[in-house]
Amino acid sequence: MVLTEEERLLIMVLSGTFGMFLLVLGIVIFFITYKKKLIKQQLEMQTLETEHQLKLLQGIIQTQENERKRFAEDLHDEVGAMLSTAKLNIARIERSADKKAAELATETKSMLNSIITNIRRIAKDLLPSTLEKLGFIEAIKELCNSVNKSSIINASFEEVGKYKRQDIKIELALYRVVQELVNNALKHANATEIKIVLKCNSKQIELEINDNGQGFDLEQVKESGLGLRNIESRINMIDGKLDYFSEIDKGTTAKITIDIS
């Protein structure tokens, strides 16, 4: 069959057009498939990286806790014991010395009492034994009591719903976060009141810490604040969610939510 010039032109144009159409279709399908593959690989790498970072973080925090425990025990067992012995010796000197020396001994005994109290407080902050023995609620109540005794801030704690004891890692993380936030309020906020509210149900725990202090610029602190990052790290480790609200002269509120279902 001999094709005419016209037929040859027609076939060439139509088959060229059809060929280009198939080529474009192939390119688009390849592009979509390849991109999906690349995205999947990227997500897998990101997941691995996140898991690795989390493991590192867990290691760092565990090491931190181990060091704190060791330090607290050394402080209590060694330094605390030696100070108590020194206090006894001073008491003996106070009883047997002359008037001037006795006055000096009394003053020294008072300083030693102060040092022993501070050492005990530091050791307690480092190793909250109440947390381990009696649980989160009692540890927070004790924290509030010690804040109320030693400063002009009024710290209060409220429990809404029935709290069920959680894994020690969760309780310790929550306790450290409360500790950090209370310390921030004491050091920087110029607050007169700190409210800690714990809301519990069968599905989640919600912990809210609020102070009526001077507030701060959240964006500025997020860039430079190690304390805030530490808090976020601890909450991430226990799969919790942290919401932070602060405005200048309007106080600060931190809300932590943990799913326990």
Binding site: E5, E6, L9, L10, M12, V13, L14, G16, T17, M20, F21, L23, V24, I27, V28, F31, I32, Y34, K35, L38, I39, Q42
Partner: protein, 220 residues
């Protein structure tokens, strides 16, 4: 006869489907990026030319000079769409250089090389090749950056396919357009230009989809 009439109607009126993406672009104008706004200007220009050609068809024997002007403006505007949409500075510079060189060629071709009353096949062919390269470069840049997670919601994804499809599939038609008009019978001409019209309509539909997603993308 009925089939011929149908083909003729599609050929004559297919370009008016540009009203669809024009309407969507006007509706979403405030959400459009610089690249998509430039595409919109191309669509408004296309619609204007279509209307003018339809209005003055009876009075003008050969309106191919309009195609020469249309080719230049189309080339400049679509090139700028890619200039604004691609993030890579290297590719941007390349686009600018190619746009400049090819624009000069289009003008020279219309004035000195090909008759202004015939199809500007040289210019259309080069334009087609460039508008195959630009979409491929855009796809390459998306693969390299990996910033877009949901392709189907990305406006430029649809617009890029539209341009690649239209200019690739019409490459042979545009290269041989003068031969097609002169050598093919009326019926075969109808089929060829129907195929061109079909891909033109497909391009406008894909433009419409892309412009529709511009609101969804920038609203979140």
């Amino acid at each position: 006869m009925i089939l011929n009439k149908l083909l003729l109607n599609v050929i004559n009126y297919q370009a008016l489907l540009v009203i669809l993406p024009v309407t969507i672009s006007l509706y979403n104008f405030s959400y459009l990026t610089k690249g998509l706004k430039t595409l919109s200007y191309y669509l408004y220009f296309s619609l204007t030319i279509e209307i003018l050609v339809k209005l003055f068809n009876e009075y003008i024997d050969n309106n191919l000079p309009a195609l020469h002007v249309f080719t230049l403006i189309e080339f400049l505007l679509i090139s700028m769409v890619y200039f604004y949409s691609i993030n890579s500075n290297v590719i941007k510079r390349l686009v600018l250089t190619i746009t400049l060189l090819v624009s000069v060629f289009i003008v020279i071709n219309s004035i000195y090389i090909q008759n202004i009353f015939s199809f500007n096949t040289n210019a259309r062919a080069i334009e087609n090749v460039v508008f195959i390269i630009y979409p491929l470069a855009f796809f390459y840049s998306i693969l390299k950056e990996l910033k877009i997670l949901k392709l189907e919601k990305e406006p430029m994804f649809w617009i890029n396919i539209a341009i690649l499809l239209y200019f690739s599939c019409n490459l042979f038609i545009f290269i041989f357009s003068n031969y097609i008009i002169d050598s093919l019978s009326h019926v075969n001409n109808l089929w060829i230009w129907f195929v061109h019209g079909f891909f033109n309509m497909l391009m406008y539909i894909l433009f419409a989809i892309g412009l529709w997603y511009s609101r969804k993308k920038n609203a979140y």
